[in-house]
Amino acid sequence: MSLIREQTAAIRPPRALWVPFMLGRPFGAPGEPDFQRRVLRALLSLFERPSGPVLEDFREDAPPTDAPTEAFACPVSFAAAGAKDGDLAEAMRDEIAQLAPWYDLAVRRRGRTTVGISGLSLEDAANHAAAFLDGAARPDAMPGIPAGVALKRACDDLKAYYYEAAAAQPGNLSPRAIDNWFWRETAAAKVFLAIREICQHSKDESLRPLGLLGLVPRYVTDGSMTAQSGARPT
């Protein structure tokens, strides 16, 4: 299966189905079993080809996810936009508390969560990340694990929590809307950006890669994040 056609064409595998979906969604869209099954059947059908190589295109786009902007009202705003460095950790903890009922709802609805890579409670994950802000001694929340690995896992859990909570809110928010909200409006994103900069100058070799990759997407660091209309989580 191919998500980036040009790469697959260069690799020349015996059989490949290129799908026109966003990275992260190779079977098209969540909660769309009929569509997913069509993609799977198209993929499986390549096994019946008698000769190759075969690079076939899946012709259907994924079902749309963008919600109408008027479907969502925004009763509360985070204070992150005005938060300074010293307030960031507290602002992030406040966001986590505000999002808790939505995260709980998401877990109830889905019967699962993807939070839990770090093995820390979310509060400890937040404290772990926040401890990097002031340049203090690194917390040893995960003994025996390099600081960069531990920090990455804590941040991944934090981000998963925010995204799962946001998706549970009214408005059926698109992935792009959640991305825009998280990276433009939350204190957590400001914490991530600050940590990224600290990691760039760290003497700890396990932290330096996080100064380039692993915390902040390229579409944020290169300034290409697209503008998104109204709908956003709170």
């Binding site: 909660g31 190589p53 981000k159």
Partner: protein
């Protein structure tokens, strides 16, 4: 959506550089094999999935994790190290990345012969050459399990 023309300049350049860095794979092998309805199918994903409690992937990890076919969705986690793809779909529905439920449906309808007892997960941001030794070992394990159709799925 995942068209290079839709990406930002830096994202596009990142993916084009991957093409420039590709090894030479030589000729393309091709095996016809038995009819699909007789095949035993496994999924090998590069999405960095693993069962909760297994070791999460790290930057550069070139090893793999085993996902038993009966693993419930609520036990699956994703520790792929890249932050440059959407995770919200996976958070909502595992099948958008790892379509085991859909595969079971196709099997129940007789579309494939059977489903492997084990599926496998790599972390696709590993250096491509570093993956080969474990990929070769895994191919041997799949043969031993009588798998004759592997879905190599990206994220």
């Amino acid at each position: 959506m995942a068209r290079l023309t839709d990406f930002s300049d830096s994202e596009r350049e990142h993916h084009l550089q991957k093409i420039r860095d590709l090894p030479d794979f030589g000729t393309t092998p091709f095996v016809a094999g038995p009819p699909l309805r007789q095949r035993r199918v496994a999924i090998v994903t590069t999405s960095g999935l693993h069962v909760h409690g297994d070791r999460p992937f790290q930057m550069g990890s070139a090893d793999y994790r085993v996902i038993p076919g009966g693993t419930p969705a609520d036990r699956l986690r994703m520790s792929h190290t890249s932050v440059n793809f959407d995770r919200s779909g996976f958070q909502e529905d595992v099948n958008v990345v790892f379509p085991l439920d859909r595969l079971r449906e196709v099997a129940a309808q007789g579309g494939i012969g059977s489903i492997s007892d084990f599926h496998y997960s790599f972390m696709g941001a590993a250096p491509i050459r570093s993956l080969e030794p474990n990929a070769r070992k895994l191919a041997g394990l799949l043969k031993r399990d009588r798998v004759d159709a592997v879905l190599l799925t990206p994220v």
